[in-house]
């Protein structure tokens, strides 16, 4: 393959620079970009992050610095420097271009944001101009790298952003080295996540998203993410353990309870998304009212929490009992709603579940003693929910562990990590079993699945009920974390999570049928409205646009399912003509079998 690419006459760059110059431009540009982060970009510290100091980067400049270093590293790897070859296994150009874009995007975003927010280009110091110029250089250099180009500009640009076709198999590593790689990557991941959660202002968060998105894309096109997923597949247990440890480590890195609070909420949101993933991702049932099950769990826990505003204020269950009660109540609701609706297929199911979701919210809104029975206090909800007491440990009180103070939210965070671990275990075990396979079979082709002996209604109901139970379990913690339950969050669509639309989006955006996908999607979707306060009401619009773009360019979600990855790697089948492969929608003229 590469032989042909080298000898074919048409290999040329999009910009007419010789190869040596192009490479030099990328390397020096990358270094210059990183260095420009040390200059003063503006004269006033009015722009958040203080970009006025010569000799020390601040705020967005750190991001520019990181992207510049990454570009320079890729450039060195392209030169074939010893020890860096693993960065560019396929020796393709896309990682160079994309990492250069990361630096360019964040730097220009910063410069433009400074000019716009402070009112004019005059607010830029020379350092700002230098940074903008420096970050442009590697982009130009990368575009001059030779590729097989045609006449179509759009196709030509594509050559610079797509993954290499053939990624050579990695040199085998010793098992301990593979584990070391996983450990280092997990630590890096924790660092990146923590940085994102701790961003103090919207501009920094946008810059962060830009750098992370382009860098990850660059790593993906280099084939490094595939290699990593192969490693993690080899060491599944170890990877899960490291992930769990990293999750536990998070509150110990925090000094501000506010960010730990965000962490708790992300975990709750992600847990519910993972439960929804069983229903949507595995069984293929489009449930638009899923958030109601979170509500059932939360309300149940609130009612038996001992809150003086609860209808049953005398009753105070210990946490394990209220968690079980909440989950059980959700389970019952799941079966009650699922039994009549799961006989419907596709769109009908979506509409009916949407209806049931709204019915839940409206019902709890009305059960205030005036319009209905006095159970939920109507729109006022149930406030003053006491903190959870777990084995004599009050989660509302701060504790010192090894000199680090863990506040209220850190306690809840750790509780949620445990619950999340349980749910990840439930998800992976259920998915990889007879029942999980029958869910996927139903999703793939319900008619064929029933013809293979699967009782469609039964296994769908199990998926639905299991999803509901997990959401209910998360809901019981949610009620305590937020001190009160009110009907409002449990709606179909709203500007902030949780709501059914956001949950569904977290699953679809992250990657259906995976574990990491919904977790990532949930984190992203929770952070966006949280960090970009200025979007306010427009956040739904922005969110819609982002979803459309994603579905257009990466319909399988950010994290692709292993099944879809198999398509590219383990089969190595490029010789199958299109016409003989199965399409998603078999051309059936009659409803069944034809």
């Amino acid at each position: 393959m590469t032989e042909i690419a080298k000898t074919a006459p048409a290999a040329r760059g999009l910009l007419p620079l010789p190869l040596a110059a192009a490479r030099a431009l990328i390397l020096t540009g990358g270094i210059a970009t990183a260095a420009s982060a040390f200059l003063a970009w503006t004269w006033t510290s009015e722009f958040p992050g203080n970009l006025t100091i010569n000799g020390y980067p601040g705020g967005l400049q750190w991001l520019t610095f990181t992207a510049g270093v990454l570009t320079a590293l890729f450039a060195l790897a392209a030169y074939g420097i010893k020890g860096l070859g693993w960065l560019l296994p396929a020796k393709n150009n896309a990682p160079l271009f994309l990492s250069a874009l990361a630096g360019f995007a964040v730097t220009w975003y910063a410069v433009i944001a400074i000019s716009v927010e402070l009112g004019g280009l005059v607010n830029l110091e020379p350092g700002g101009y230098i940074a903008a110029l420096a970050s442009l250089l590697p982009v130009l250099g990368a575009l001059s790298l030779p590729e097989q180009l045609g006449d179509d500009t759009k196709e030509n640009l594509k050559a610079y952003i797509t993954k290499a076709e053939k990624i050579p198999a990695p040199q085998p590593l010793a098992p301990w080295a593979e584990r070391l790689v996983i450990t280092v990557v997990t630590a890096l991941g924790l660092g990146v996540f923590t940085y994102g959660i701790d961003t103090e202002y919207g501009e920094l968060f946008i810059g962060y998203l830009l750098v992370v998105a382009f860098s990850m894309w660059a790593l993906h096109t280099a084939g490094l993410l595939d290699r990593l997923s192969r490693l993690t597949a080899h060491h599944r247990g170890f990877t899960l353990l490291m992930g769990f440890l990293a999750a536990i480590a998070f509150p110990f890195t925090q000094t501000n309870d506010h960010y730990t609070n965000i962490g708790v909420n992300i975990l709750i949101f992600a847990t519910v998304a993972l439960g929804l993933n069983i229903v949507v991702g595995l069984a293929g049932l489009l449930d638009l009212g899923y958030v109601a099950f979170l509500g059932v769990g939360a309300y149940t826990a609130a009612l038996v929490s001992g809150s003086e505003f609860s209808r049953f204020s005398g009753v105070q269950f210990p946490f394990w009992a209220s968690a079980l009660t909440g989950a059980a109540a959700s389970l019952v609701f799941g079966v009650l709603i699922g039994a009549p609706t799961l006989r419907l297929r596709g769109d009908y199911l979506a509409i009916v579940t949407l209806g049931f979701g709204e019915i839940f919210r409206i019902a709890v809104n009305n059960m205030d003693g005036d319009s209905g029975p006095d159970i939920t206090n109507g729109p006022n909800g149930i406030p003053s929910i006491p903190d959870i007491n777990l084995f004599g440990l009050n989660l509302g009180e701060a504790n010192d562990i090894g000199g680090i103070t863990l506040g209220r939210f850190a306690n809840y965070y750790l509780l949620m990590v445990v619950i999340m671990a349980i749910i990840v275990l439930v998800y992976t075990r259920a998915a990889d079993s007879r029942i999980g396979r029958s869910w996927i079979a139903i999703r793939e082709d319900e008619t064929a699945a029933t013809a293979m002996g699967i009782n469609g209604f039964r296994v769908k109901l199990i998926a639905f009920a299991l999803g509901a139970t997990l959401a209910g379990l998360a809901g019981t913690v949610f009620a305590h974390v937020t001190y009160s339950v009110v009907p409002n969050p449990y709606q179909f669509a709203g500007a902030a999570p949780p709501n059914s639309a956001f949950l569904l989006a977290a699953v679809v955006l992250g990657g259906m049928g995976t574990v990491a996908g919904p977790l990532l999607g949930a984190a992203l979707l929770y952070l966006l409205p949280e960090k970009l306060v200025f979007l306010q009401e427009k956040s739904l619009l922005a969110f819609g646009i982002a979803l459309i773009l994603l579905m257009r360019f990466r319909p399988e979600g950010v994290i692709a399912n292993r099944r879809r990855q198999l398509e590219f790697h383990e089969t190595g089948q490029t010789d199958v003509p299109d016409t003989t492969t199965l399409t998603d929608e078999p051309a059936v003229t009659t409803k069944a079998g034809a």
């Binding site: 275990l425 439930v426 075990r429 259920a430 990889d432 079993s433 007879r434 029942i435 999980g436 396979r437 029958s438 996927i440 079979a441 793939e444 082709d445 008619t447 064929a448 699945a449 029933t450 013809a451 293979m452 002996g453 699967i454 009782n455 469609g456 199990i462 299991l466 399912n561 099944r563 879809r564 198999l566 398509e567 383990e570 089969t571 089948q573 199958v576 003989t580 492969t581 199965l582 399409t583 998603d584 078999p586 051309a587 059936v588 009659t590 069944a592 079998g593 034809a594």
Partner: protein
């Protein structure tokens, strides 16, 4: 007299005004390979769907080894009838092995709890299932592709995989809907061998086919369906020689004046139905 494996009695399927299958009686005996032929739109697939519970027949009953089947696909499969589809319906995004494992569904019973708790029973059952599935993949020659996605298999192999998936349910009767459609001559010959091998495992086979050579080579008995009615049934020689079959296949009725032609065809079919009832099904199965 042994009970037949499959006995369909008086099966009729109407879609609104259209009668796709009309009062068809049908039997398949132990160890038999029976061919079902007929022009396009004759109702062959619809008849299959009635047999397997995908359609609830408007009238009539289907019994398997003497017990009447409820018209629920999963119960039919559980009872022992497995099938393939005319336009392949594999689980495209599952691997080859997983497809076959899904076929094992009715012969295993590990539920959600055992999947979550992963006791020794679960592991044993999973292992046994996998071994059985691998045996089947060896049998049809796809063992080397166990981890490929079904969608990435070439067409002929997809058809084979569908057969393996059906066999995984340990059926007593296998229904094949046009198993060689779209295959080249070599693949067709290989399929022929495969069907014989399946019969040798003691599984009766009922197959719909358009490739006449294939059907007449394989079948112990051939049935002809025209416009939803059974026209002729008998040994391949008898059927091949029958004038009405030749006429039905020349397809005159659909050119020219449809109204009249259809009426004529119905008449012909009715006459045929009388005729077939006289040619005994029993004597034909050698």
């Amino acid at each position: 007299m042994t009970t037949p494996v499959l006995e369909a009695r008086d099966v009729t399927m109407r879609f609104g005004g259209l009668t796709a299958v009309r009062s068809v009686d049908f039997t398949v005996n132990e160890g038999e390979i029976v061919g079902l032929i007929g022009p396009n739109g004759a109702g062959k697939t619809t008849f299959f769907n009635c047999l397997t519970g995908l359609y609830v027949p408007t009238e009539g009953t289907v019994s398997y080894k003497g017990t009447v089947l409820p018209p629920k696909p999963h119960l039919v499969t559980k009872a022992g009838i497995a099938r393939t589809f005319q336009n392949i319906r594999l689980f495209a995004n599952m691997t080859v092995l997983e497809n076959v494992l899904v076929g094992r569904h009715t012969r295993t019973k590990e539920g959600l709890w055992s999947a979550l708790l992963r006791g020794p029973g679960f592991k044993k059952a999973e292992k046994a299932s996998e071994e059985r599935a691998m045996e089947l993949l060896e049998f049809i020659g796809l063992a080397g592709k166990r981890d490929h996605l079904a969608r990435n298999l070439p067409y002929g192999e997809q058809r084979k995989l569908e057969i393996a998936r059906a066999l995984a349910s340990e059926p007593g009767l296998l229904l094949l809907d046009e198993p060689t459609a779209g295959m080249n001559p070599q693949e067709t010959r290989a399929t022929e061998e495969l069907v014989f091998a399946i019969r040798d495992k003691g599984i009766a086979v009922l197959l719909i086919e358009h490739d006449m050579r294939f059907v007449f080579n394989l079948s112990d008995r051939v049935s002809v369906l025209v416009q939803g009615e059974k026209l002729v049934e008998g040994t391949p020689e008898v059927v091949q020689a029958d004038e009405r079959v030749i006429a039905a296949y020349l397809g005159e009725p659909f050119e020219g004046d449809p109204g009249e032609a259809e009426a004529a065809e119905v008449e012909a079919a009715e006459a045929a139905a009388d005729a077939t009832s006289t040619t005994s099904t029993k004597g034909d199965a050698q």
